[in-house]
């Protein structure tokens, strides 16, 4: 760019800004403005110091924060364990079935999140097939239940966010040049060695993206906890919703949102450092 004639640079310098302008405008209106107004709300405390909301958020809701992060973490790990092999098979072994399998992964999105979660209520019902099967296998006590337990909530989260894990991993696996794997085998690498040294490292960006796409929404989710959990499984999302709509304690609700955002950002940064992907470097 530096060497071009003055007349031409003017336009080409402006071009990138013009291209990002709609996006920036969108983010300003729908992200920055609401965040600023939420920040204002969080410190507009009637009859108390401005940090009152934050103080109560930090002292009163530790259980909920911790629980949300724990559930989201468990769901992310489960989604990874289930999703990676699935993505691997679709990318490398599915052959002509590839499109069909990808279609099946996306299929649940054709119904809404809420309806899908609600269907789980029926599946996990006390008298339902899942409970009966587990009881016959003696994995569940005769008077045990699945619905309204931690297992149900984490299961629901995993199920609902699984495609967000599978798709990025699939894309990063799909991009891998097969000749690299062939080259490794030509050099007498075992299939396992080729996977460990070639495929896995090259798919890590997909794992990274998939984990974030699963973890972040899962941590803020409240539908699964509300429908599939008991009151002892409620996550921070439910609390925020109730504080906004029922109690109308807006400073507390806003403060809770910010604390949650802060915790997630912290977690994501730590994760980025740990995995060291180029995307965030």
């Amino acid at each position: 760019m530096a060497g071009t004639a003055a007349g031409g640079t003017r336009q080409s310098r402006a071009a990138p800004y013009l291209l990002i302008a709609p996006g920036v405008l969108w983010l300003t209106v729908f992200y920055v403005v609401p965040i600023v107004s939420l920040a204002q709300t969080s410190v507009e405390v009637a009859g108390g110091p401005w940090w009152d909301g934050y103080q109560r958020a930090l002292t009163g809701y530790g259980t909920h924060f911790f629980r949300s992060l724990r559930y989201a973490f468990a769901a992310t790990i489960l989604a990874l364990v289930l999703g990676y092999p699935l993505a691997y098979v679709i990318a490398f072994r599915a052959g002509r079935l590839k499109t069909l399998l990808l279609g099946l992964v996306i299929l649940p999105f054709f119904t809404t999140f809420l309806v899908r979660t609600f269907a789980w209520k029926t599946i996990l019902n006390d008298g339902g097939p899942a409970v009966r099967l587990l009881q016959q296998l003696h994995l569940l006590a005769p008077d045990g239940r699945l619905l309204d337990t931690t297992i149900a909530v984490i299961g629901g989260l995993t199920y609902n966010f699984l495609p967000f894990m599978v798709l990025p991993i699939y894309v990063s696996l799909e991009k891998i040049d097969r000749r690299l794997v062939e080259a490794a085998q030509d050099l007498y690498s075992t299939p396992r060695g080729a996977f460990q040294k070639i495929v896995l490292p090259l798919s890590l960006p997909g794992v990274f993206a998939g984990s974030l796409l699963t973890f972040i929404p899962a941590a803020g989710d409240f539908i699964n906890a509300e429908l599939l959990g008991s009151p002892n499984q409620q996550m921070i999302g439910t609390v925020i919703q109730n504080q906004f709509l029922e109690v109308r304690d807006y400073p507390l609700a806003a403060a809770l949102s910010f604390v949650m955002m802060f915790l997630i950002t912290l977690g994501v940064l730590a994760y980025a450092r740990l995995l060291g992907t180029e995307e965030l470097a």
Partner: protein, 394 residues
């Protein structure tokens, strides 16, 4: 429209009511969003009507539709078309109220700025109506064009949140008390406190609606919900919290408890009368009792927002539904308590079975045990709610 179709639609309506009832906000939103495709008539009857009949027999004065927001499945399928035919006024009937707090959050801002919310009648629960009136969001009712207001039941005609019913009249009332499945409990339940029986650990639910749950627990403690102080509420909430933490209470629900009760997932629940009435058709064993200590009574009330420019049409609607025969027809499709005098006799003509149910037509001794939660000021409401939300773990 053939008779068969009409019958099928009634059947769908009944099934839906049974599945949903009145206050399950998440599920209902889901079904709405999922575009649950049902027989056309049902949705046409309940959804907004486009184009409607142009003033058949009504003198053709129809000026814009009267726009009504109500809770889902809270009306029969005939009243809206009948009203249109009788008056020539089109109705845009929307079932978009799922939760008092949620709906308030939607209308608060525009009403504060004196802007239209595109509604001429909204239907909300007592305490929320009280809040709207105290905020000055309500238009006074024009009694001159609402002669049937005289049919309002005496015990509902003067309430704390709206003295002399200047701004609001009840759409329907309901009772909250104890519902149970005798097969699971193995015995009759007679007291509110049976819900704390350790035998039912993990098999009971309570309602997320604060006034109903708190009111019932207070009754069980021998306190009067009409005079509840903050310290009473704290004591009741401490009891609820303890039961929640010990695993006694499986869940706090909207009306999701209904199918859990029918499916045998739970033994007993704080339950609304209309839901249990709806469940009885397929689960004849279920019981709903107003315990010895009493039950809670609530009403949902029609109110005209101050920014409505069709208040005269709104009055025509209210006058129409306050006719005992019309009210009975609504009850036949949505089995709660009519606030209209004489509707019981009318109901006996069209649905004798339903009319004899104590859930729709409570006998006097039951009526005497019904309590209404005290009207709370805005600040009190926040305090009570804070304690309550903490108790239910949200």
């Amino acid at each position: 429209m053939s008779r068969d179709t009409a019958q099928r639609d009634e059947e769908i309506h009944r099934l839906l009511r049974q599945a949903l009832g009145r206050r399950r906000f998440i599920t209902r939103t889901a079904l709405a969003a999922g575009g649950l495709a049902l027989g056309g008539r049902f949705l046409a009857g309940c959804g907004g009507r486009e184009g409607g009949p142009d003033g058949i027999g009504g003198g053709g004065k129809a000026r814009g539709p009267v726009r009504i927001s109500n809770w889902p499945l809270y009306i029969d399928s005939e009243t809206v078309p009948d009203f249109e035919k009788a008056t020539g006024i089109d109705v845009e009937y929307t079932e978009d109220i799922n939760d008092n707090g949620e709906f308030f959050a939607k209308i608060d801002e525009p009403l504060k700025r004196n802007q239209s919310i595109d509604r001429d009648i909204i239907i909300l629960t007592d305490w929320m109506i009280g809040r709207l009136i105290s905020l000055g969001y309500a238009a006074p009712l024009d009694n001159a064009s609402f002669p049937n207001k005289a049919n309002l039941l005496d015990n509902l005609s003067d309430v704390g949140f709206d003295p002399a019913r200047k701004y609001s009249v009840p759409w329907m009332s309901g009772m909250a008390a104890l519902g149970y499945n005798p097969k699971k409990t193995g015995r009759r339940l007679t007291s509110v406190n049976d819900i704390f029986d350790p035998k039912f650990k993990g098999q009971v639910t309570m309602l997320t609606e604060m006034r109903d749950t708190l009111g019932l627990v207070l009754l069980g403690m021998g306190k009067d919900p009409a005079k509840a102080t903050l310290s009473d509420a704290k004591a009741a909430c401490a009891r609820i919290k303890k039961a929640r933490e010990s695993g006694q209470i499986r869940k706090f629900t909207g009306n999701d408890y209904a199918e859990d009760l029918a499916a045998g997932n739970i033994a007993a629940a704080f339950a609304w009368s209309g839901d249990v009435q709806g469940l009885l058709a397929d689960n004849p064993g279920l019981q709903w009792v107003a315990p010895a200590e009493g039950a809670m009574l609530y009403s949902d009330n029609m109110l005209v927002p101050k920014t409505s420019d069709r208040q005269d049409l709104a009055m025509s609607w209210m006058n129409y539904v306050y006719d005992p025969a019309h009210s009975a027809q609504i009850i036949a499709g949505a089995p709660y308590l009519s606030p209209v005098k004489g509707s019981g006799a009318e109901l006996a003509k069209i649905a004798p079975d339903l009319a004899s149910s104590p859930l729709v037509n409570p006998p006097d001794d039951l009526r005497a045990r019904l309590h209404v939660f005290r009207a709370l000021s805005d600040a009190e409401d926040m305090e009570f709610n804070r304690v309550f939300q903490d108790a239910i773990g949200a």
